[in-house]
């Protein structure tokens, strides 16, 4: 386990990283449209989510079967996207 002071500092470092990513997403919104723009925007949200889950929600310290249930959330989303995408592509 990290030293207490390091854990508190990590919170602020992660917050700064989240705000920087938010700034990048905002800057991107003002750029002219390009092919991968929506994917990059959602990807930035994915990065922010990863930081929150890993550091704030302390997924890195999860033990037992908890990591499996953390993964289940993402599996749900993947299934939803797969079924939704299949509907769109085959319609």
């Amino acid at each position: 386990m990290k030293l207490p002071s390091l854990r508190y500092r990590t919170v602020w470092v992660v917050l700064v990283a989240l705000l920087v990513l938010l700034g990048v997403a905002l800057a991107l919104a003002w750029l002219p449209p390009f092919f991968l723009k929506p994917l990059v925007t959602v990807g930035l949200s994915g990065l922010k989510t990863a930081l929150v889950i890993w550091y704030f929600m302390r997924a890195r310290q999860a033990e037992g079967i908890t990591p499996f249930y953390i993964a289940v959330g993402f599996i749900w989303l993947a299934l939803l996207a797969l079924i939704g995408g299949a509907d769109y592509l085959t319609r």
Binding site: P4, R7, Y8, V11, W12, V14, L15, L18, L19, L22, A25, L26, L28, A29, P38, T41, V42, L44, S45, K48, T49, V52, I53, Y55, F56, M57, A62, E63, G64, I65, T66, Y69, I70, V72, G73, F74, W76, L77, L80, A81, G84, D87, Y88
Partner: protein, 209 residues
């Protein structure tokens, strides 16, 4: 305010209790992912089917209000993470101050959201009979956009209200007695999830134009 390290009778030690509570919360959050995920999928598909109408409707949202709310939720999440560490270390003062700060920010978030809703009512951008169809080139798509906007942000706001109630309860207990760390940990997981939902809602709703 003090934060003791006590264990319920059902558990061998504090670590087992914390792990069990975390597991239960993660299972709940996985069901919440389905809840919000299906609504976000509906939005994504409609966005693909009606790109022009959705992009046009999105320009009627206040992007700076949305940005302010995103910053507010990110900072509140950091404060909740701090309060969790503080409760783990038995630092009652820091725990109370951090949670109070998060509570204040959550209230400001709701205030801004309420102001945005009020603006939408003023401009008749609420789906229904009085919808200002003349403001849009594709009014049907714009109405669909605002329908999903109100559904998603409304559901999210309900979760924020739930989080506020939870924070008030934790602070109330902390003033009168002792808050157990397992309660703080469980709440923190919930609040970070509420933050994550907004992390996706903000770019999808406010920045797509």
């Amino acid at each position: 305010m003090s934060v003791p390290k006590s264990v319920s009778e059902a558990f061998r030690d504090e670590q087992q209790e914390l792990s069990t509570a975390a597991l239960g919360m993660w299972i709940f959050l996985a069901s919440e992912v389905l809840f919000f995920g299906s609504a976000l999928l509906a939005f994504a598909l409609m966005r693909i089917y009606y790109p022009v109408g959705f992009a046009e409707a999105s320009t009627h949202l206040g992007v700076w209000w949305g940005t302010a709310n995103t910053v507010i939720l990110l900072v509140s999440s950091a404060l909740v993470a701090l309060s969790e560490h503080a409760s783990e270390d038995g630092r009652g003062g820091l725990f109370g101050r951090s949670l109070l700060g998060a509570l204040g920010l959550a209230s400001v978030f709701l205030g801004i959201k309420g102001y945005e809703y009020w603006q939408k009512f003023q401009h008749h951008h609420v789906p229904g009979e009085g919808f200002a169809q003349g403001d849009f080139a594709e009014p049907a798509a714009a109405e669909m956009f605002f329908m999903i906007y109100f559904a998603l942000t409304g559901l999210h706001a309900v979760h924020v209200i739930g989080g506020i109630g939870w924070m008030v309860a934790l602070l109330f207990v902390a003033r009168r007695a002792q808050v157990r760390h397992v309660s703080v940990q469980t709440f923190a997981l919930y609040w970070h999830f509420v933050d994550i939902v907004w992390i996706f809602l903000f770019p999808l709703l406010y920045l797509i134009a």
